[in-house]
């Protein structure tokens, strides 16, 4: 596989980190890739402004699954502010790159994260 996808991509595809759901999550973000019809849902658990836990579920190609897994690793333990700095490009780079025609897949991961944070922030506003 390692020739279309980097070893890191294959590692995250084969052993995805943080698959699953969080009940009563602080925030949930879901994005669909209109290009290929894939879907990613990301759950975050925030405590004291820090992302304590994160889980994902993804319906998509190898790149979509790997970027989902990677973004969860990158974000765990980060503050909301730090998490907001994570870009799609950074996720792709952390995976040692993606094939050109697969770059659009990496757009799922950071977008889902940002949506989850947005959801968390909206919920906190309502609560306060």
């Amino acid at each position: 596989m390692s020739r279309v996808y980097s070893e890191k991509v294959m590692d995250h595809f084969t052993n995805p980190r943080n698959v699953g759901e969080i009940e009563n999550a602080s925030g949930v973000g879901e994005v669909g890739n209109p290009v290929c019809g894939d879907i990613m849902r990301l759950y975050i658990q925030v405590e004291d402004g820090i992302i304590k836990d994160v889980k994902f579920k993804t319906f998509g190609c190898g790149a979509a699954i790997a970027t989902s897994s990677m973004v969860t690793e990158m974000v765990k333990g980060k503050t909301i502010e730090e998490a907001l700095q994570i870009t799609n490009k950074a996720v792709a780079e952390a995976l040692d790159g993606l094939p050109a025609q697969k770059m659009h897949c990496s757009n799922l991961a950071a977008d889902a994260l940002h949506k989850a944070i947005e959801d968390f922030q909206n919920k906190s506003k309502k609560a306060s």
Binding site: M1, Y5, M10, F13, T14, P16, V19, E30, V35, C36, G37, D38, I39, M40, R41, K57, T58, F59, G60, C61, G62, A63, A64, I65, Q101, C105
Partner: protein, 387 residues
Amino acid sequence: MRRVYLDHSATTPVRPEVLDAMLPFLKDEAFGNPSTIYSYGREAKKALDEARAKVASLIGARPEEIFFTSGGTEADNLALIGTAAANEKKGRHIITSSIEHHAVLHTAQYLMRHGFKVTFLPVTPEGLVRVEDVEEAITDETILISVMHVNNEVGTIQPIKEIGHLARERGIIFHTDAVQSVGKIPVNVDELNVDLLSASSHKIYGPKGVGCLYIRKGTRINPILHGGAQERKRRPGTENMPGIIGFGRAAELAGQELPAEMERLQALRDKLIDGIMSRIEDVQLNGDREKRVATNANFSFRYVEGESLLLSLDMKGICASSGSACTSGSLDPSHVLLAMGIPHEVAHGSVRMTLGRDNTEADIDYVLEVMPEIVARLRSMSPLYNR
């Protein structure tokens, strides 16, 4: 790790017997140009004619009706563009189906941009063209009907004979893309009532880069490439001798083995289909159960995306292919599955497995063993699945 190749509709390996036949033409024993008159050239010419006769014999044609091309794609282009150019004074309407290979579909679209009207026939949910639809689509302007014999994705066998009958009655030239049927089911140009038929070598254990168009004697068609007088002025360029010789030998062997191999593969295919359907939930077979080439199985696994499935299969040594947009590099999932009315998300989770000479019952057992786990794992990651 076990390696199981289940993508024979994409391409097949060259058989050893075929390579043996090609080798003299890849050495300085027999490298002549068949258009030259000295001895090397004459030997080449003779070998070329023999290969032509072998390919002709596989499809019940006469040798002089076989025109070698660089593959199935060029044969399809020649059939459509060549016929359109030679008959445009008679009319500018072409009928084809919405599930053709891109070599036909994109060529038809090219002709549309050049003033031809094209009807793309719908198909049934099983992926079959209806003869009545063809009949209704015919107008006084219709000069060509092109419907594929066996579909490359879902393996459906189209009613070519009946469509051919209709075309003949109405005096319309009839082409069939038989790239996926030749060598896999009996093909006879007279029984099928076709005027033009495309075939490709690398789908029947011959080399890549060679194919042919059968042109029934008397069919009006122009060349699409221009140059030397090769292939009786219908296809210029120094002949691909090793390729053509290999194609000839592959055709000969395919003809000899067809009845037995068809039976054997059909049994394997049925075992695969029944095994998958009984072991895994939420899966559907795409394409007709009966009117189906012996080598094809195509499934949609709900809640699973095709490329992930292919990657997982590859890690287990199994090669298959998918109609998912993520695999093809194009933006939409398989146009064939969509034309059959299969929703985007279901088409997205489709996998094609196509059997061939090298597959054994043990291969199928292996696939049936690993497939349930793979699907289960991917479903456990899927936000769409909740059981």
